[in-house]
Symmetry: C2
Subunit: 254 residues, 2 copies
Amino acid sequence: MANAASNSHETPGTPATPALPVPPWERTRRAKTPARTPLSQEAIVEAALHILETEGYDGLSMRRVASELGTGAASLYAHVANKDELMKLVIDRVFDSVEFPEPDPERWVEQVREMMRGTRRILQAHPGIARAMLGQVPFGPSGLRIVEGFMAILRAGELPDQVAAWAGDVVSLYVVASVFEDDIRFAPHGDTSREDMEAWAGQMKSYIKSLPVTTFPNLVALADPMFETGGPDGRFEFGLDLMLRGLASHSRRA
Amino acid sequence: MANAASNSHETPGTPATPALPVPPWERTRRAKTPARTPLSQEAIVEAALHILETEGYDGLSMRRVASELGTGAASLYAHVANKDELMKLVIDRVFDSVEFPEPDPERWVEQVREMMRGTRRILQAHPGIARAMLGQVPFGPSGLRIVEGFMAILRAGELPDQVAAWAGDVVSLYVVASVFEDDIRFAPHGDTSREDMEAWAGQMKSYIKSLPVTTFPNLVALADPMFETGGPDGRFEFGLDLMLRGLASHSRRA
DNA sequence: CTGTTCTACGAACACCGTTCTACAACCGAA
DNA sequence: TTCGGTTGTAGAACGGTGTTCGTAGAACAG
């Protein structure tokens, strides 16, 4: 993941003595422009992704990316139009690692389920990506690859074209929104430790239970299952299952 | 929706002539310290909501709210802890207008559908609210009222408690995310005119169709239904229906 | 060797949320 | 009526943001 800039094209015009130790009288000059990685778009995306992983969505700024690369913010704009475009590139970069299976008509529902689980896991591994992804049509190179794979599975399930087309959009919207919600709910809260989550759920639960029963009978009655997370993935799995049941009812199979 | 500030508690010390027209000789004094609305929390929320409606999510800043009220940003912090709290208040303010029916066990699915449609309409009428709402537990006074009403309907549908509890969360997440996506996709784009939407869909469609058929067979085949909006609400209705079908399959009724 | 062209990047612009601090207006007690 | 004390107001400032401007320098073409 790191160390991706040592080989490949040197700038064509440099004389053939790049490996020599830097002479002492040039030390100061060299030190001024450090590292000598000529600042490519790929390097910028990589740096942005690294910051996103380590410092979260709010930690990512153009200045922060620049400082990671040992330069100033203005320099980035030679390789990237603006922060929005950088985000799109980062998103597509993350999509590289999303995998999907060969469509199997017998198992299409399970295949969709697993694909969505995998997508969720990857989004969770890169906090903040989900936030940037909402409202973006994922039509970068990797995005297209994924949508194609998704559609293949849905069509293997013999869904009508209109259903398959909309389902791709709607189900992935659910996945992204779901991660985003968790993200934003616990990200400012510091680390997303399980304890914090449990504590938060406990607070909410007891608050609901303290409400007047006469005006909020159902709310009070459901306080427990509402914050019974059922493991951290219970709610997500439930919603996914809801959509898959609905989807299955559209299938022309069996 | 407006006109909600005329009655209720005056400041306790004022004399009993508040309804009299302002005498002419006081006009100038009145004009100097403008409007003489002593900057209440309610006024701040109202101003914020107004800005959100007219200038969108990005147009809303503390300074902007303050200038709307003819004051400086610092003054707001006497009535509101920070922007986050202001947002929560605005959200709950919007929730005031969400309506829901008396639960009818025979029609519970349709009731949920209509309630979600109504919620969507209200969120769409206040662009930016959806953006602020994601990741917030809607437990302000109005929020609680709505969740209670929602839960009442779900329980009328004889759903298991765990299902009802999760469904409330998951379905509203879908509604909010759905509005948010439209919002963010077309808000920077200027006005959300139907023409712009159609034009955008047309562009996307022809881009997809221009892809190599051998590597993206399904994508190319589904390009038409993918951007066949089926009216602007087609996709939303489809996703909602997906969840409702899944939900109905959990019901202990019939 | 001389333009010309492209990249780098410090400085600056116009914002943002928030806090500090001085100031004015009110209010109850003397 | 005067005197503290409390409270709401608001200008200035702090430390951030994305982005643009203009200059300095290196690399390439003629």
